[in-house]
């Protein structure tokens, strides 16, 4: 299990390659990559603030919960903070399991919890100004299915 919180960009392809190559008993690898999308008005940059003392442990706890719920061979979570531009990967999760259903379920669970329970806040800076991204009710609702 690996959790990385970093300002530096990461290469989703290289991470996928490394994660996949490290599996010896897994038949299924699922990855999710979140990318900064442009917004109306033209996104100059996205700034991601986080709570340094809490972030790593909060994500690790979510990952441990996933490992305890599903039979996972491995889990990877990478989440960036700082300034990002449209098209850049914000974060990724990868899960490895014997069968696909477990790998998919665990990846969706990780995403749902990272969205609403990991201490990150996004701010969008356009030509027209800056605005904090508001949490969506749908994201909070998504937690109820687990």
């Amino acid at each position: 299990m690996s959790v990385r919180v970093q300002a530096e960009p990461f290469d989703a392809g290289a991470e996928t390659a490394g994660f996949t190559a490290a599996q010896h008993d897994a038949g299924a690898v699922v990855t999710f990559t979140g990318i900064v999308r442009d917004v109306e008005g033209g996104l100059l940059r996205m700034e991601i603030e986080h709570y340094p003392g809490m972030t790593q442990s909060a994500i690790a706890r979510i990952a441990e919960e996933a490992v305890s719920r599903w039979s996972l061979a491995d889990v990877l979570v990478i989440h960036r903070f700082g300034a990002l531009t449209p098209g850049e990967p914000i974060m990724m999760v990868a899960t490895a399991a014997r069968h696909r259903a477990e790998a998919f379920a665990a990846a969706e669970f990780l995403m749902d919890y990272l969205k609403s329970r990991a201490p990150f806040w996004k701010k969008e800076i356009t030509r027209e100004g800056a605005a904090w991204v508001e949490a969506r009710d749908a994201d909070e609702d998504a937690l109820r299915r687990w």
Binding site: G34, I48, E49, H50, Y51, G53, M54, S57, A58, H79, I90, M91, M111, L114, K115, S116, R117, A118, P119, F120, W121, K122, K123, W132, V133, E134, A135, E140
Partner: protein, 83 residues
């Protein structure tokens, strides 16, 4: 007791600082919030609607009615928007 109080995102922006030390006898998070609200308008603005806020005690998500006994670090922030 002296507690480290941290603010993130628009809570930090409204209050105008990322962290401060607060000397308080508040028994609960809600009592601490009431004290802070009484300080200055910027605190009152930041804490106007608690349903729009979340709190962490010693880096774990908690509730506004939680006791502060033994807590060293309190963080206030809006709902998280990671992922």
């Amino acid at each position: 007791m002296t507690i480290d109080v941290l603010y993130f995102a628009w809570v930090r922006e409204r209050i105008g600082l990322p962290r401060e030390k607060v000397v308080t006898q508040a028994a609960t998070v809600a009592a601490l919030v009431d004290e802070l609200r009484g300080r200055e308008e910027r605190y009152a603005a930041a804490f106007a609607d608690l349903s729009a806020l979340r709190v962490a005690l010693d880096q774990e998500l908690s509730e506004f009615d939680a006791p502060l006994d033994g807590v060293r670090e309190v963080a206030f922030f809006p709902p998280m928007t990671g992922g």
